[in-house]
Symmetry: C2
Amino acid sequence: MASLTIIDIAKICGVGVTTVSRAINNHPDISEETKQMIMKVVRENNYVPNNNARNLKRTASKTIAVLIKGLNNPFFIRMIDLFEKGIKDKKYSFILHQVYEDQDEIEVANELIKEKKLKGIIFLGGYLSHSKEKLDQLTVPYVLCTVGLSSDFDHYNYSYVSIDDYAESYKMVDYLCKLGHTKIALISAKMRDRSIGQLRYLGYKQALEDNGIALDEQLVRPMKAHLESYSMENGYAVTKEMLEQGIDFTALFAISDSMAIGASKALLESGRSIPEDCSVAGFDGLDMAYYYHPSITTIQQPAAEMAEEAIKILFDLIHKKVTHVQKKFSATLIERPSTGKASR
Amino acid sequence: MASLTIIDIAKICGVGVTTVSRAINNHPDISEETKQMIMKVVRENNYVPNNNARNLKRTASKTIAVLIKGLNNPFFIRMIDLFEKGIKDKKYSFILHQVYEDQDEIEVANELIKEKKLKGIIFLGGYLSHSKEKLDQLTVPYVLCTVGLSSDFDHYNYSYVSIDDYAESYKMVDYLCKLGHTKIALISAKMRDRSIGQLRYLGYKQALEDNGIALDEQLVRPMKAHLESYSMENGYAVTKEMLEQGIDFTALFAISDSMAIGASKALLESGRSIPEDCSVAGFDGLDMAYYYHPSITTIQQPAAEMAEEAIKILFDLIHKKVTHVQKKFSATLIERPSTGKASR
């Protein structure tokens, strides 16, 4: 199981070490024929050049990390591929690092910066409610990608890509109101949420108001704190509880597609039809929302564009072309059979 | 944005560098009171110890990588968390590295071993059909976890955890036969697959034979090569094609839950009922299969036990307690409303 060295390769080929090195590094001072012969041996023996200086340079000084909070969110998984490809295209190496729900991403980032000598960071998912002082301790450029920012946060000091959570939530609730619904349940974020969840709640509230519908607090249901955030299980539990309590609603808006699926299951299981008895709408634009039956109306986030822009901003920060960039993308309401006119 | 050094912390605390070091490293020669005071300053300033020797030891010599092929497979995502926790519990650091469908995992592994000085590898997902010579080039211990092994592979030379794909597939098809189904469609692996996909196909074939049902080749449908393997999209496309061709079947078994969901969508969209017109069964035991409506009958793999065992084997290999360990786990057929008695 011992791995070959460049000396072994040279011996097998019957040439000097320098010649092998020239072949591997595509040096001009070597005949095409010799190069082909050496590279054949390199391939057959699965030899990996182990130039320490080069490795050090590559691994120690040109790494970018994506810190993800919410690895089981299918929406983020799609973005990871795009980040990895984009970062490798720039000849940087890529590290994917998971941050758990109870961990502080800034602390995790600071440790990684020192340990892996990072050149930049993309934060994907989660919430930031840290003080400016704490964020300023980050010693490398970073971009926040669909990270929730607390409402009292000074947004203009940071670089981020996101959608306008307030406006997109407003769009969905306004659409449900225009279908004639007046009793619209909301599965919202946990109570302490002061970012994405709050913005989507405020969009809901404003759309009701603009449609002349009084806010009914018993229709606003935060996801359960003891269950995984934004999950199918959570949407299911919240909806089941509402049904058991006999709460009356003709439409339900869950602030993630996964929760909308869980909510649909609870409704269908109880014998209700979608959308005849209750319309259901989600948020994110997951494949799953389409394959569910009936397919679920959702707000589709432009994941690919957002990932590309995050990388562009990060490299502009690294090369000091910009200081801060904020970019909010438009999302699209996709109307599907899970929503229909209110029947009562 | 400059980060603090141990000297800065010592200055702030009004103590010597050695005292700070003792506090951080939990050394006995320091009073509890002084330690508390220093650790408060450390925390407030978000100071991360940067002892090069220690970092080198930690990052350069005690890292285990999980190489995953199929990051968008929700079944694997559940396992990653378990791997990360298990590896960190052993005081090793953890790297998650994605292998793309068109990449050779052994080559990727060899590069990572040199670059990150790995101590061990867990291969998660994908197929291995490499020669013994090629696998023997891996210079660190490794465990294959739910990796497909080609049928001509000498299994006893390698360590792996898996389920018995042949037996579990047999179990599901036998169950469908016992419900009275004789026209059972199979959404199988791609044509060139010689591992998991082949085993599940052979289990299907044998169960039909043992139930006195002739194999009908037009009911065996490999997933589409141009679409993502095992995906909802793939199951949908294959099923839609069968329906358009007017193929007659009363049950459908897809070798992944995601494909079973896609297949269900194609059936429901065409106006058929599940299970009245067609029973649907999947494989894996994803949450999604439960939340689909109707909930989908599946083979539940014991993901947590498999992940734990893979880690145990890897550390036993690292500590040279064992040479090879193969462990096949039993999976469970979970009967749900998507399957019922054949009505014709």
